[in-house]
Symmetry: C3
Subunit: 467 residues, 3 copies
């Protein structure tokens, strides 16, 4: 029996030539560019023995690999399992959530190694990479995964790859402006990753607005098992967030401190998320959407300040506030954004990344402005904010001002870049699905037969399924 679901599928969503062409051409481009530009950094190069002697290192354990590799692997899990599974809550978009996330991230990290490399690791014509570059590439792609959350289920894989290409580029530019020109601290990326990524994605989804999306409203929900899969994503993001925020901090106390602050903020965030999730429902029942998402807001919001002397109780306060802001956002703001501002935000990234990211930028600015030599120690103060060279005379309050400027720059580039990319993605050649086929895996995926018939059967219990 023919299933009627695809009758309205007038659009040509076949990826057969377009997707392979993009993937292959771009990968060839990566190979050429890597061939021209990318080499091993001194700590990964076989000349390391000589390097060690020059740097007067007595042991192999001083290789940056051992300082950062465990954190790198945690971050890697967050990008591929964390984001991939978190977005698996939709009842019929699990393949797309985890599969497209996989695709865009695998492409994105390569392009990010190049883009960030040109800006930050370029020496005598070559990009010299090490484990810190891998972490930064994952971070950069994290901002694309965030933006993907806003347009989840409504875009073709080609659109996602195009968005990745542009967003990684703009991320690197924004990051360069913040870290190098404004000399801003943002180890966990409240501004560079979350604020930028979220407002970029929200702008894109605004431009891709689909007026009749309620046609696929029934597919925008979850089923019992898809919510459980999504919890895998949530928990890995939650557990490894201390690694995320500490991964590229200075060796020693800064990494240590960043992990503790993040641990505290996330713990507090869970309590207020549960409180408000229950309070805002008439029957006081908990909503999995909140548990899956708002519990993570505390990690986002200490992204800038985690490596500073935020202190554990300061972290608890930030987490406390963000659990509330994020949960309230899911209940009241998301419907408002959709109905009034025509921003269709599938995963609610406005609540999980945009607002907490802004809060994180502000907390970072305040924490920096409030820094004193007394709290940090003379050496610690200089080291924490890197007040050396040109920045030797910068004061904490000036630093706070530059931090705040970093938020504004991130927002501006996000809006402008999102508008540009949204406009490109609206071109009718990328094979996106018709509105009635959104949030539906079988537009782009071979979906196993018998479970489909099962679902069909569920929706039409009076008719026999055809196995």
């Amino acid at each position: 029996m023919e299933r009627p679901r695809h009758q309205g599928m007038a659009k040509n969503t076949s990826m057969r030539w377009r997707l392979p062409l993009v993937c292959l051409l771009w990968e060839v481009a990566m190979i050429v560019l890597f061939g021209v530009f990318v080499r091993f950094g001194p700590e990964a190069d076989a000349h390391w023995e000589e390097e060690k002697r020059e740097m007067n290192l007595t042991s192999d354990i001083e290789n940056d690999f051992y300082f950062r590799y465990p954190s790198f692997q945690d971050v890697h899990v967050m990008i591929f399992v964390g984001f991939g599974f978190l977005m698996m809550f939709l009842k019929r978009y699990g393949f797309g959530a985890v599969g497209f996330n996989f695709l865009l991230a695998a492409f994105g990290i390569q392009w990010a190694l190049l883009m960030q490399g040109w800006f930050h690791s370029f020496k005598s014509g070559k990009i010299l990479i090490g484990v810190e570059n891998l972490i930064n590439a994952d971070f950069c792609v994290g901002s694309v995964c965030i933006a993907f959350g806003a347009i989840l289920g409504k875009t073709s894989p080609i659109q996602l790859l195009i968005m990745t290409l542009f967003q990684v580029t703009l991320f690197a530019v924004n990051e360069y402006i913040l870290l190098n020109l404004l000399h801003v601290k943002d180890a966990g990326g409240s501004m560079t990753i979350h604020t930028f990524g979220a407002y970029f994605g929200l702008t894109v989804t605004r431009i891709l607005y689909r007026p009749n999306l309620e046609q696929s409203k029934d597919k925008q929900g979850s089923v019992y098992h898809s919510d459980l899969f999504a919890m895998i994503g949530t928990l890995y993001l939650w557990i490894y967030w201390p690694s995320f925020n500490s991964a590229i901090s200075d060796h020693g106390d800064a990494q240590h401190r960043a992990a503790i602050n993040t641990y505290c903020s996330l713990a507090a965030c869970v309590l207020t998320t549960v409180a408000f999730s229950s309070m805002l429902q008439k029957k006081g029942k908990l909503d999995m959407v909140h548990i899956q998402n708002a519990t993570l807001a505390g990690g986002v919001a200490v992204g800038t300040s985690a490596e500073m002397m935020l202190t554990p109780y300061g972290s608890l306060i930030v987490g406390f506030i963000c659990g509330i802001v994020s949960t309230v956002g899911y209940v009241y703001l998301t419907p408002f954004l959709e109905s009034r501002l025509h921003i269709q935000d599938t995963c609610g990234i406005h609540n999980l990344h945009a607002m907490p990211g802004l809060i994180g930028g502000i907390v970072g600015a305040i924490t920096a402005a409030a820094a004193t030599e007394d709290v940090y120690g003379k050496e610690g103060f200089i080291k924490a904010f890197d007040f050396t060279g040109t920045y030797q005379t910068r004061t904490p309050s000036v630093q706070g001002g530059f931090q705040a400027a970093g938020i504004v720059v991130s927002l501006l580039i996000a809006f402008a870049g999102g508008a540009l990319v949204g406009a490109i993605l609206r071109l009718p050649v990328w094979g996106d699905a018709a509105t009635e086929n959104c949030f539906e895996d079988d537009v782009y995926w071979e979906v196993p037969e018998d479970e489909e018939s099962d679902v069909y059967h569920m929706h039409n219990p009076d008719k026999p399924a055809s196995p």
Copy 2:
């Protein structure tokens, strides 16, 4: 069509005001107490540069962060993913298993940082925390997750939070008596975590005995996918247990040895679990309950002795025995405990934590009593048992005696504490579900509509489902 499932739900299970109130008040209390007491330890403080000089450390890699952070993250996964998913085997209690575990653990780690901090890290009026405190807080909460296993599906989230508050407190007291007063070794917590946690939980569930629980017998089983989700929990617990037992051992050989012993014990345990699971079934088929749980008993049972010179073959013997004890427990003891002693142990923690925990305490006492300078080396002997200062003259056999005393103390505090907490939880104000609604997510959770209708449909195939 009205589903008849909730007709008998006379009890008021609405959490709308009670749960938010508890969460918010307690989190505010945490913030205040952290504000007064908790500060960064020297290795996480920005003064670390000066500290390093004083301690004569030449490299940042000497920061305890690099010795323990990878193990910490593994333990963190065990608490939140391991326990959360292990308890997901029930067919309709997946949200509660993973969600309530998340809630109680997020609260518990904060309270544990304080309680353990007052006992162990209190200096000049402040609790100074570092990565080891985070691990210990996770450990402490591990004992609550264990107790949760006994009452899974029968308690409201408020009851769980109250139990967490008390259990963490008692855990810290018991731990202080064992580690500081009795000078007992228990790095992986056979006594402090498993014996204490399990007998505490079993006492609580005894007091909360529900006579007619067989009414919800059909919901106490698993379905195919819930068993697969539970295996995620099992495997992460099994894989990371070597990190658990070595996480707070002395730097160097002790951590190394603890990991190897645990690896060996767990491997042996799998073989005997499979053997007895097959042997005790008439048709010789394997039971997922055993594979999910009894395979982990070997990790519990080397919790005390893993950092000692137990030797790899000693570990295999312990694992061998515990796989058998635990599997036999699931087949014969759990039904007996329920029918005769009125101990309703949802997850069978008596088999996975209580008995193996006791065995672990005993193995630890014997291993300590059998220690010789020959086996450990002169320095190694003193270091392994910390026979310095007041304990300079303690002999191995005396140490063995104190280890045994540690078991008894843990049991006594578990029983007394469990009785007290059980009595408090029986008060009729905490919103626990009626017996016929136990093991059912939709008492406390918004459950997605269409999958419910699916389940309904499954149970009533002759009636049409209402989507």
Copy 3:
């Protein structure tokens, strides 16, 4: 109502006495052999304090534990979660996939510690183990997990244990010939793990050929959720593969470099897998089988060369090629192997491990042959290929020749060993299932009732289910 599914089950598949007997006897044998042979290595022994002085180490952080333990845990996850879940794609064989993988790996690591210990860590009559031995044991078992992929769903747990016993033994012999006699480099095991494991498994499944396997064709597919579970396996293998290939490389730059090369190769592989998966389907839809498997081929194929100066762009090229080879293999080669050569390869290990493993061996030979002192530096060159002692005068091109010889040896031992083991497994006493019951958990597992009725119900929607 009696289900008709088992009518044809003439074979005696009861494991009641056979499986327990094998498990218990073998575990007792392990205990005895460990008791006689296995002791802690110097870095895990309590005499470490003295050892440290002798080796002139100033800090505990120089213990190999801190160089390798994080990688070890990642590899451990790959073996138990990675392989276990990857094989969970079959609709009704999830328990078997993850459970039997658990069983064989838990036995295999013990036997591997002994076998590899006798060859590589045997000193004065004892096998001295440390974290590197644990990694190598996991590696060895990895080759068994690969072979398991070929016979998945068609063998009894006893057959798997027997295969494990023999394959671990042969693995250790092959590894000894390659690493010690031929002095070949193979840190990530393209030859020793993948080529050997895959061709061994393919030979076994050829000999166990079942002519009427299409009888259970409907059970050889996936369902929606089983594909999502399988993605957990895929992603953890993909994410942690850089740890796999770098886990036993030399400290410092070699580990660092191996991780970077693997990261790059895997990223490129995803793009070409997606390209060809889409291109080779008439409608251009992506196939989860390819995404689950072929995306990993890039990790296999740099297994030999990752620790060499392959360079990031070299890694991209290898990944690029392998994504294509592997995907094309799934589409064209697997059906051909089954219909013409009677090789029934359940998981398609020929595409994921055999061909990429061969490519990896060849890439390793070429990379070694092309090595120059200019690229590696004088010291780095000697260190990378261990051209010391007897091998002081070996040239890169000779090394390349020996590398190539390593491939041939691995193939020969795989074919001969697979034939032997296949013949043993054909004996009619091991309780394997009848062909019509292949790929079906309830032959060896207690399967929860109501979900079975659900499945039954799905397939026979016109008849009522009996809950």
